[in-house]
Amino acid sequence: MSAAVRADSGPIVAAASRPAAAPGRLLAKAADLLFVLPLLALIGVFILLPSLLALGYSFTNWDPGYSSPWVGLANYQTLFADPTFHKVVVNEAVLLIGIPVWLIVPLIIATLLHGEVRGAGVFRSIYFFPAVLSPAILGILFSQLLKGDGAINQLLRHIGLGVFAGNWLSNPSLVKFTIIAVVAWASMGTGVVIFSSALSALPVELFEVAEIDGAGWWQRFRYVVIPGLLSTVRLYVVLLVITVFIGLFPWIFTLTQGGPSGTSTTVDYDIYQRALSFGQFGAAAAESVLMLLTIAVIFALGTLVVRASRSRPHRTEGPAS
């Protein structure tokens, strides 16, 4: 049908009745693709390609730059039989407990700073300060603060809480929880900034209506903030899960070097140690593959849980008036 534009036709109707030019649409799609091509190329070269190479090398006695004969599943068998690897798995499982802490604390703080709070910007800046410092520097600082006779224990003893003073980094029972606490402090600011930004995008009317209906702070947090920030929370949880597996290296390297007795060795630290200290490159590659699979499984499970929760009927009523 030829495009017959009537004078009284609106532009939308006119456009809708006119058949799209196929070459123009293809060119538009090609242009869109070209926009993302540089980033895709970078991801491919620096992430996908090394991942595929690591998968291949994990089946060899990898000796970078030299002959690397095929050994099949030997590297994986070595890992599964290695007590150090067992400890790493346990350590990672315990460190995942840190995620609710690293999530909820900044979320609550961001909510407290939301609205008409005097000096909220100053507080956000103060909370964000640790995020601009290198984890390596903070790790060195905390390794001194957390020593047996370090400042933290001295302060506890000084204020009469000496019973709580401990070997924070040298006690196998305490070290992982100490790391969780340190990372919570260091990452709090990032979470506060992210959630503050997301909160500012929520319609103010939601909070006003909740307040008018008599909702208290906790009810507003439970029924307005959390549902409203759900997509941001999901994204932040994704980042935290990734952090547990590949983001704790600077903390472990500076705070504990994986000790005591391997009770704080994370998978990224173990991969570094196997490859660059022990020269076990094949095993390190196998461990990288297992780490990737573990993260994929966690995300798959998380996606299933989210989908299942979405299929349940929503609670539409608000707080009791």
């Binding site: 534009v5 532009p11 006119a14 456009a15 030019a21 123009g24 060119l27 538009a28 090609a30 242009a31 070209l34 926009f35 091509l37 540089p38 190329a41 070269v45 006695n61 000796d63 970078p64 730059g65 030299y66 070595t78 007590p83 150090t84 020593k147 047996g148 006779d149 070997n167 980094l169 040298s170 006690n171 196998p172 070097q257 994986g258 000790g259 005591p260 007795s261 391997g262 140690q273 490859a275 660059l276 200290s277 022990f278 020269g279 076990q280």
Partner: protein, 459 residues
């Protein structure tokens, strides 16, 4: 018309944008393809061996010791050796670079993989060098007749292939020695000396502890100090050949004698004869500084630390002594647990292997070894080197190096992955949270895996 014009304009804009992005992509690909030249690969100037003032060559050396600005450090001696060599060889320039110890061997691993880096690399003269030996050039011919003056047993065996090819030279004699704070010992009413037997050592430490003084300055955060103690006890329970067989996987790390030695070390912890905060303290620099600050009566340290302790402790520095003899020792008297110290190898990728080999030959010569001793108290590996010292502790070591039966124990030559098993579980063993046998079993498994992956070179 408006819409047609708009559409045309949109298409034109998109085409222009696509062209721009295309140019950017091509540009990125062109720029990102080049690789940087890593490392300090030296420039070539002929064959190196024929270097002279008219054809100068530069050889680069990397290690973790080159700190010439620190008085008395190994770097002072190394600089003196470099300067003397350059003076005698005007055609060869030395560029000596320091790399941090923490990352040194990771860097070496990368250099070997890339086949790029300095001409001479530092390493430990132990079988752990076998992990890197594919990056080392044979230097048997380069060292030549100097080799006869450097003992071929523990000091050099780690750098040999099974055919006797030399892959490295030691820089000095390493080893362990006891130090004591005579002021604290006198305060505790204990004779100011290192007790000669293990039982006397324990008795003295219990008396020191009773006086409210830390008997043995100890730190297990990095685990190495437990290994040092174990090394000195176990060395007395094994022959020199057995000790040499350990890192080759020919003598078990988990035998009854090795377990017994570690249990003896554990008694020090069980009796509370160690620093109370030992779990938080690593050897370097905290533990060393702790003894130097007078925080404890005894310290098991390394050869060459006596000068620094003499300065920091002043009148309280009592001196040094051999590790106490344990009952059950295979040897009638005490001996010095001496080990291969650090060492140097010529990199296989070096374009100046002749010049580098010439430098290493000079390095183990009498002249260079004397310089190292005079400037940084590095004990000579060349048996023709005659040195003396006015410092009693240094004279003691020179005397003890000549004692019969001087050899190292099982730990001195352990490869990194095996040593890591012990150091990572050191605190757990000493606090009883992990059984000593299970850790030594694990270490033995790691040793077997290592010798399978990195066998003794066969060429």
């Amino acid at each position: 018309m408006r819409h047609a014009a708009f559409r045309t304009s949109r298409v034109a804009r998109r085409a222009a944008t696509a062209a721009t992005v295309g140019v950017l992509v091509v540009g990125l690909a062109a720029c990102g393809g080049g690789s940087s030249g890593g490392g300090g690969s030296s420039n070539g100037g002929g064959g190196g061996g024929g270097a002279d003032a008219a054809h100068p060559v530069t050889i680069t050396i990397e290690d973790w010791l080159y700190t010439p600005a620190t008085a008395g450090s190994a770097g002072v001696g190394l600089k003196a050796v470099d300067d003397a060599f350059m003076k005698a060889n005007p055609g060869i320039k030395i560029v000596h670079q320091l790399q941090p110890y923490d990352n040194y061997f990771a860097l070496l691993q990368s250099q070997i993989a890339a086949r790029k880096g300095p001409d001479i690399v530092g390493n430990f003269g132990r079988p752990s060098a076998f992990q890197y030996v594919k990056g080392f050039a044979p230097i048997t011919d380069a060292i030549g007749d100097e080799r006869a003056k450097v003992p071929l047993t523990s000091l050099m065996s780690a750098n040999l292939s099974d055919k006797g090819t030399l892959y490295g030279v030691p820089s000095g004699v390493g080893g362990y020695i006891m130090y004591y704070n005579k002021g604290l010992l006198k305060k505790a009413g204990v004779t100011p000396e290192i007790p000669k037997t293990w039982d006397a050592f324990i008795a003295a430490m219990e008396k020191i502890k009773g006086a409210g003084i830390v008997p043995l300055v100890t730190g297990t955060k990095d685990g190495s100090y437990v290994e040092w103690l174990w090394e000195n006890v176990a060395a007395q329970l094994m022959t020199e050949q057995q000790a040499a067989d350990v890192p080759l996987g020919k003598y078990p790390l988990n035998g009854a004698d090795m377990v017994k030695a570690m249990e003896m070390v554990k008694t020090l912890f069980d009796k509370g004869l160690v620093s109370p905060d030992y779990q938080d303290v690593a050897i370097f620099p905290e533990l060393v500084n702790s003894f130097g600050a007078g925080k404890g009566a005894f310290f098991l340290g390394l050869l060459g630390q006596e000068t620094a302790f003499g300065k920091s402790l002043g009148a309280n520095f009592g001196g040094n002594g051999l590790f106490p003899r344990i009952s059950g020792s295979q040897y009638p008297a005490q001996f010095l647990d001496s080990t291969p110290g650090t060492g140097y190898s010529v990199a296989k990728w070096s374009k100046n292997q002749n010049a580098a080999g010439k430098y290493l030959k000079y390095f183990v010569s009498v002249d260079a070894q004397k310089l190292l001793f005079d400037k940084s108290t590095s004990y000579p590996v060349n048996t023709d080197t005659k040195v003396t010292s006015t410092f009693p502790s240094t004279e003691n070591i020179l005397k003890w190096l000549k004692l019969p039966n001087g050899h190292n124990g099982p730990d001195a030559n352990l490869p990194t992955p095996v040593s890591a098993v012990l150091s990572q579980n050191a605190t757990a063993m000493m606090t009883g949270k992990t059984s000593i046998k299970s850790v030594l079993d694990q270490a033995q498994s790691a040793m077997q895996a290592y010798v399978k992956q990195y066998p003794v070179p066969t060429s």
